[in-house]
Amino acid sequence: MKRIALFLIPLAAFAVLAVFLLRGLWLNPREVPSPLIGKPAPVFVRPTLHAPDKQFASADMAGQVWVFNVWASWCTPCRQEHPLWNAFARKQLVPLIGLNYKDKGDAARGWLAELGDPYQVNVVDADGRVGIDFGVYGVPETFVIDKKGVIRLKHIGPITAEALDRKIVPLIQQLQGES
């Protein structure tokens, strides 16, 4: 009896450890859970990329579901996700607002002219302060914001077709049903 226990206890301890380590293999340490989910989105007023004398106020989006995508022309993964946003915009599901994060205006406008512009509006965040308010630490990042202005989802890193089809589009449809 005692011998069996001596054998089983280390085995059980090893099994527990193995389960934790195995789980760790599939976790992405770069994905830090955001404390902003379920909280009101930060309010900001910033000039737009294409008309710098015009301002965009996040408060204007109240009452509709919208997608907020943080990008920059210096960001390589943004180039990777861009065709997906072009396709997403063609569906005309919800407004896609871009946050041009710490970028140069000319470079950003050139980037959109070359790759296509899926954004309804692009907001300029030259010094990165809006980004900090949204807890941005790795561009690209994407937020889904509901009709009440609450952040419902944050996607860190380049968007994937799978994330769009399985998470973002179903969530948008659900949120559009809410009052």
Binding site: V32, P35, L36, D127, G128, R129, Y137, G138
Partner: protein, 158 residues
């Protein structure tokens, strides 16, 4: 790491950054009190881009921006708690190098202590069990004589 060590490291990193002419790392304030608090706070905050560096040590863009935030808020007279709260409300507890003590982190804080205690208990039990075996079977006269002979260095004949 001791406090001095950390301060020395931060100072070293700062000196390097200044030497390299990095923007933002250069203390812009004439006020040494503000500067000291900025470094102290920045040494407690994690740079989320590099993850294993504080924003005091890192030269990543985000770290420079966050350090600027800290500096501005210190200069504006915010308390340490308010500045830490500003960071955690945006980036979560992960931004803190020292995780706060709460329900979900109890195991993190006291797990090693618990494992140590279990180890100590097991060790105690094993020692006691061995002592019992030793006491239960005392040496016979012949064994005693043989042990004494060995101790005198007389060796054994085979």
């Amino acid at each position: 790491m001791s406090k001095h060590w950390r301060a020395a490291l931060a100072a070293g990193a700062l000196a390097l950054a200044v030497a390299a002419g990095a923007q933002g790392a250069v203390p812009t304030d004439a006020d040494p009190v503000v500067h000291k608090r900025e470094i102290e706070l920045a040494s407690k905050l994690r740079c989320l881009v590099c993850q294993n560096e504080t924003i005091a040590a890192s030269r990543a863009d985000l770290a420079v921006d966050l350090r600027r935030q800290v500096r501005e808020q210190v200069a504006a007279g915010k308390t340490d708690a308010e500045i830490i709260d500003f960071m955690t409300s945006r980036y979560g507890d992960f931004v803190l190098y020292q995780p706060p003590l709460r329900g979900a982190t109890l195991l993190l804080w006291f797990g090693p202590l618990l494992l140590g205690a279990i180890g100590l208990l097991v060790a105690l039990r094993v020692v006691r069990a061995r002592r019992k075996v030793a006491l239960a079977a005392p040496l016979s006269e012949a064994e005693r004589a043989r042990a004494a002979a060995l101790l005198r260095g007389e060796g054994e004949r085979r």
